[in-house]
């Protein structure tokens, strides 16, 4: 089981000021949100804008009852991302990535290298198709439970499990192609 980050903020405790709760939650989870935004956009400037958009939306929706502020903030950020990139998500390169680069689940994969640089892991994660990238990141990096990932991305639990399996397989394939001598034997981008 993946260790889960502590929930430093809970909306279940009574609060007289929802605005201060959102503020507290955003500041506590700002690093997490920025990382997720960076994984989604693959660009620091866009990630910066996306987090700010997320905060604005969170402030607008601050009066609703939120049981899990961290998951709610991630969901808000993902909504902002989808809204801004809806056209790119629905058509174009992502579909090609899915059909063109997806490996057969049962295909042989080279063993993982003994050592992996953070930059290579980042490049491998960011080369995943966005649906797989979001699931792998939320589950493996941020430690969300599958049902929380399903809530954030608003898709069925089975779909999340399936995407996570495919995402890990793709990630494994990309990293196993990494040459520890310093040359990539597989174009990660």
């Amino acid at each position: 089981m993946i260790p889960r980050p502590e929930m430093a903020v809970s909306a279940e405790k009574p609060s007289t000021n929802p605005g201060s709760l959102v503020r507290e939650a955003v500041l506590v989870y700002l690093d997490d949100l920025f990382r997720f935004a960076l994984r989604l956009t693959r660009n620091a400037g866009d990630a910066d804008d996306l987090v700010q958009e997320c905060v604005l939306r969170a402030l607008e929706g601050q009066n609703r009852v939120v049981r899990n502020p961290r998951a709610w903030l991630f969901q808000t950020l993902y909504h902002a991302f989808v809204d801004h990139h809806r056209k790119q998500l629905l058509r174009g390169p992502y579909e090609e990535e899915l059909s063109g680069e997806s490996t057969q689940a049962g295909a042989a994969v080279n063993p993982l290298p003994a050592a992996m640089a953070a930059e290579d892991v980042r490049a491998a994660v960011e080369s995943l198709p966005p649906q797989f990238r979001a699931v792998v990141w939320l589950s493996d990096a941020e430690g969300f439970l599958l049902r929380e990932v399903a809530e954030i991305l608003e898709c069925p639990l089975g779909t999340v499990a399936s995407r996570l399996a495919r995402g890990r397989q793709e990630l494994r394939q990309r990293l196993s192609a990494y040459d520890p001598q310093g040359r990539d034997s597989h174009d990660l981008r």
Partner: protein, 248 residues
């Protein structure tokens, strides 16, 4: 079972209980899936390590702080605007209510003043009935006002004419008398008693004077009566007393 399904089942079982038998059977026979499981924990660890190395830029944190502060200031301003608007609305409502209350609920003094004003604006020829017969005048008022009008006998004065007038948005019966000694005009008003008089639950009897015109006003059985004339106060009050004594 396919490798994809088996791996999805394995992932689900990490949180939802035992691995289904079919997935276990596939795992026992599939080398690729066994490697997938073996490499899984290492992959997760590498991804977590990557996450630990990344932080939000300081500039972004400052921007977010500034957003919260701007928002707090604008919310405070917005609150002040709303509070000001609400206070203005309350004042407006109170003002309208006060005006309405004043208009609808005249005080005895104010009503007596209105009778005096009507007296002062007397013009010959405005009368609707000219008669010195109390009975004729009483009959003439029937159906023209919503209350019975009794024309009383005034000491040393006789009725000469009558009409319906409006006093404080109410219909009032007005009978004019002439005093025999000097032909001074005396007005006798009858109208429905304003609700505020009744709510005050105390007897209303007012003597007032304005620009040389005296008025006596009193209430009896839901009606308000007033005698108005440019005569001395004592004579007017004597007449008023006489009228009150004739009341049933």
């Amino acid at each position: 079972m396919t490798c994809d399904k088996c791996r999805a089942q394995l992932i689900l079982s990490e949180e939802r209980g035992p691995v289904p038998a079919a997935a276990q059977e596939h795992l026992g026979q599939c080398h690729a899936c066994q490697e997938f499981v073996q490499d899984g924990e290492r992959l997760r660890k590498e991804v977590r390590l990557l996450a630990e190395t990344e932080q939000a830029p300081r500039e972004l944190r400052e921007k977010i702080q500034a957003m919260f502060e701007d928002r707090a200031v604008s919310r405070k301003r917005q609150w002040l605007v709303w509070a000001g608007a609400a206070a203005a609305l309350v004042l407006l409502v109170l003002g309208v209510y006060g005006w309405y209350y004043t208009r609808r609920s005249p005080t005895p003094d104010r009503l007596a003043r209105e009778f005096i004003t009507d007296y002062q604006s007397y013009l010959p020829g405005k009368a609707e009935i000219v008669s010195n017969s109390p009975r004729d005048i009483e009959q003439w008022f029937q159906g023209r006002v919503d209350f019975p009008v009794r024309v009383p006998a005034l000491p040393a004065a006789a009725p000469v004419e009558a009409r319906v007038c409006e006093i404080g948005n109410r219909k009032a019966a007005l009978v004019h008398y002439r005093r025999e000694s000097d032909q001074a005009l005396i007005s006798f008003f009858v109208a429905i008693e304003p609700p505020a008089f009744d709510q005050a639950r105390k007897s209303v009897r007012v003597s007032t004077s304005y620009e040389g015109v005296n008025a006596a006003l009193w209430c009896h059985r839901g009606l308000v009566f007033s005698l108005v004339g440019a005569i001395d106060e004592a004579s007017l009050n004597q007449m008023a007393q006489a009228v009150r004594q004739q009341s049933p």
